[in-house]
């Protein structure tokens, strides 16, 4: 499949930059969590989401096919979802690169968290309450529900984040 080949052929940096663009493009203006600087909070949000959907714990999510290449899977998901399909396909066809004469350092993990957090906030009603250093998240479905297959893909992606050490 041509698209599948295209995703496979991207190098890691291109995948990272593509997810960075998708995350920002997707982010609703009402997002409670913005930007990538706060990816630790994003990771906790994803964790709370896993609890919300009562996803079964995976001992070694990085070991299965979904976890082995979470970032690429995120890109595949973005290509399939209506809100991201146009840009995702454009980015896969003509991938972003480090083409400016400046430094830009963004770990792939952070880009992935950014994308997943933005996606979560598009498809679920997320309320974040911060009080005395503690953050709590409430979820409600109700925007555009994911079908079972999509939800399965997304949970698999989210479990990658929850289980991966932040420096990956």
């Amino acid at each position: 499949m041509a698209k599948e080949e295209s995703v496979k052929n991207l190098d890691d940096r291109q995948v990272t930059l593509a997810l960075q663009h998708l995350g920002w493009d997707l982010q609703p203006s009402s997002a409670e969590i913005n930007g990538f600087a706060d990816h630790e909070e994003g990771r906790r949000l994803v964790h709370a989401f896993m609890d919300f959907v009562e996803a079964p714990e995976q001992d070694d999510p990085l070991g299965d096919a979904a976890g082995a290449d979470g970032a690429r899977n995120a890109l595949r998901l973005a290509m399939a979802m209506p809100e991201t399909t146009e840009l995702a396909n454009e980015l896969v066809e003509d991938p972003p690169d480090d083409d400016q004469m400046s430094l830009g350092d963004l770990p792939q993990y952070v880009a992935l968290v950014g994308f997943v957090v933005a996606f979560l906030q598009v498809r679920f009603n997320v309320h974040v309450s911060r009080h005395e250093g503690q953050t709590e998240f409430d979820f409600k479905a109700g925007k555009e529900p994911l079908d079972n297959e999509q939800l399965g893909q997304f949970i698999s992606l989210a479990s990658t984040i929850v289980s991966s050490p932040p420096d990956k």
């Binding site: 940096r13 930059l17 663009h21 454009e90 972003p96 083409d99 400016q100 004469m101 430094l103 952070v110």
Partner: protein
């Protein structure tokens, strides 16, 4: 007997460095004023009013007025003036203009008897003048305008006294910057049809605005012995070298003044002796210094017009901008017309600064929050909405440029960061399509530069190219293969990668090449501009680290070619190209127009012209653009630098490729200085 200070607590208002030793009196006073809960809150409140972080509640101000009445006589005026400023703002915001005017007059009367030159009183004069002008403009007659004129006259006279009493040019610039709003108000009085009594005094306004622009830079430029003609003779070498050293030392100490305060008083005393020595050297060499104005004095409209007529073959418009909080004023001098044209529009400093920041964020992305860079092949996905506002307002400038072939912009404040050559007219044509465009730090600086160089009579042939990536760059070849930009016919000396050491780069900067082309990362240090510069390899040939925040002081010393390193060195190149990330970024020193940056350092060092980028350039398109520029320039001895760059830009705009025709690709470089 142990001496004990008896500062009344309310004397501490705005004087946070003093210690609080007599809380009981403060509590008593505040208690009488109905603020008995916590007198310290009163102090904090007024401190925040004084530093501008709090817009006070009117009832609180009035209660504090009550408290002030109980204070010792000597303290009342200062406190009264401070509070009156806040009250005037409150009243004006409430639409009670008459009451605000009465309050301002009253406070000025108190203040001028005690501290006539204090910033508090001067700020009140400015506030009062603004209110009076608004009143006059809305049908209040000529009396308010006359009174406003008196206030501004006194204010500017005081500012000039403060400037005259200040020995260091950079500090003078600081004062000008601090009172740029006063210059703006004076321009309004001279130019705004709603408040001008008879005919707008355009030439006076021009002289006034020019005196507020880049005085320290002009002084530094005039201090350099880089005249190509030996007439008058150069000052003695050792005197120039000593003056340069002293300037660097004084600048460095001034940069660190706030961090030294209270820690190392000895260093501050040393600063004073350095300045005294500098003054002596300057006075000793004053008669040898070239330039039209001299000592940072502004050139007049006539002097500038004459200099432009001598230097320009084609009809040329020089446009000098001045921006205050509400208005941008453009003065236009033409080589083919008499007099000074003027255009004013409602573009204030904040909006223009926002546009610059927005442009930088949309093109460069942000490391701070991970905002991605522009996609090179889809640049139109990024919009800078307020840029449209700028263009709509600036369209009114275009009639002043009709018939000119060349335009020189001298920006001011935030407009230094904007690509004015990418403004569009009503037909969506870019200015760069209609005119050959270049920039100047100020028109006085331009005239000074033109006076120091002859028009070149041969095409450029020699170039020094240094390219250094950081050790973390994904594509080091983007930086280190720039000798390819120079086609056949050029003699190029290249130091790339590990060969481009700090010592070599500095040595070659001072060697007689036509072009110095530097492709490396820039380091911008807003708090210590003299320590901004370019990152190259250390003596062992190691590339600099990519994470600039992690640079240790030792690493800085080894890798950084700083503004400080270059001060006092003669840079004889016709052109210095800085193809680093956002190399044109400059720092507004103390809110004035003294932009510290690499571009000005190169010009101050004697380079005729500098090219620098306004945002992080795309490797591919900027290579192509510069390659075309160098080709055009070296291929025709009659072609100036600005015309060659404009031709390269037009190639992109007219290419039919919507990617290259986007300003992100064709407009990143600004050419500053001598365009010939």
């Amino acid at each position: 007997m142990r001496h004990r200070k008896h500062h009344h607590p309310l004397t501490l208002l705005g004087e946070t460095s003093l210690s609080v030793e007599d809380g009981s009196v403060g509590r008593a006073v505040c208690g009488r004023a109905g603020l008995e809960d916590d007198w310290r809150r009163v102090k904090m409140f007024v401190d925040r009013v004084v530093d501008g972080t709090l817009a006070p509640n009117r009832a609180d101000i009035e209660r504090l007025h009550g408290a002030a009445a109980l204070l010792p006589h000597a303290i009342v005026p200062t406190l009264g003036v401070t509070l009156a400023r806040a009250l005037v703002v409150e009243l004006a915001a409430d639409g009670q203009t008459d009451a605000a005017i009465v309050e301002a007059r009253r406070a000025i009367q108190i203040g001028e008897g005690v501290e006539p030159r204090s910033p508090r009183v001067l700020a009140l004069r400015l506030q009062l003048a603004g209110l009076l002008m608004d009143l006059g403009a809305s049908g209040g007659g000529s009396d308010p305008i006359d009174e406003a004129r008196t206030q501004i006259d006194v204010l500017l006279a005081t500012v000039h006294e403060l400037i005259a009493d200040t020995p260091l040019f950079e500090r003078r610039a600081e004062i000008v910057g601090q009172w740029s709003e006063a210059f703006g108000a004076a321009l309004r009085l001279l130019l705004d049809p709603e408040v001008v009594a008879s005919v707008p005094a355009v030439e006076d306004a021009f002289t006034l605005h020019e005196s507020a622009k880049a005085i320290a830079f002009v002084a530094r430029l005039e201090g350099m012995a880089t005249r190509e003609q030996p007439d008058p003779p150069d000052p003695p070498h050792e005197g120039v070298a000593r003056a340069a050293w002293l300037r660097a030392a004084a600048l460095d100490l001034q940069d660190r003044r706030s961090s030294l305060a209270g820690i190392d008083e000895g260093r501050l005393h040393r600063l004073e002796s350095v300045l005294a020595e500098l003054r002596a050297v300057e006075e000793g060499t004053a008669q040898l210094r070239p330039g039209e104005g001299g000592r940072g004095e502004p050139a007049s409209a006539q002097q500038i017009a004459r200099a432009l007529q001598r230097a320009c073959i084609r009809p040329t418009a020089a446009v000098s901008l001045f921006t205050d909080s509400r208005t941008t004023t453009a003065f236009v001098l033409r080589t083919d017309r008499e007099g000074v044209g003027v255009f004013r529009c409602g573009l204030g400093r904040d909006l223009l600064a926002r546009v610059g920041l927005s442009m930088s964020r949309e093109y460069n992305g942000s490391l701070e929050d991970g905002y991605p860079r522009i996609l090179r092949n889809r640049p139109w996905r990024r919009e800078i909405t307020e840029w449209d506002t700028v263009m709509k307002q600036m369209v009114g400038l275009l009639p002043h440029l009709e018939g000119a072939e060349q335009v020189v912009f001298a920006p001011h404040g935030p407009t230094h960061a904007l690509p004015l050559h990418a403004l569009q007219d009503a037909d969506a044509r870019y200015l760069a399509e209609r005119f050959t465009i270049s920039y100047a730090p100020s028109l006085t600086a331009l005239v000074s530069g033109l006076a120091r160089h002859q028009s070149p009579d041969r095409r450029p042939t020699s170039a020094y190219v240094a390219g250094v990536a950081s050790e973390d760059d994904h594509n080091p070849q983007y930086f280190e293969e720039d000798s390819d930009l120079f086609a056949t016919g050029w003699t190029v000396r290249e130091d790339a990668g590990g060969n481009a050491t700090k010592a070599k780069v500095i040595a070659n900067l001072t060697s007689p090449f036509d072009v110095i082309h530097l492709s490396c990362h820039g380091l911008f240090t807003p708090l210590r501009p003299a320590l901004s510069g370019l990152l190259v390899c250390d003596a062992e040939g190691n590339r600099p680290p990519g994470r600039q925040a992690d640079l240790s002081p030792v690493q800085r010393g080894r890798h950084l070619v700083s503004v400080h390193d270059l001060l006092g060195r003669r840079i004889p190149a016709r052109l210095v190209t800085l193809r680093a990330c956002s190399s044109g970024v400059q720092n507004a020193r103390n809110a004035g127009d003294e932009f510290d940056g690499l571009t000005r350092t190169m010009l101050a060092g004697g380079a005729r012209t500098a090219i620098a980028s306004l945002w992080n350039v795309d490797q591919q398109s900027s290579s192509e653009l510069l390659s075309r520029f160098y080709g055009y320039w070296s291929g025709d001895a009659q072609l100036g630098t600005a015309e060659a760059l404009t031709r390269a830009q037009r190639d992109f705009i007219e290419s039919g490729d919507p990617v290259l025709a986007h300003p992100y690709h064709w407009a990143p470089f600004a050419l500053v200085g001598d365009w010939r």
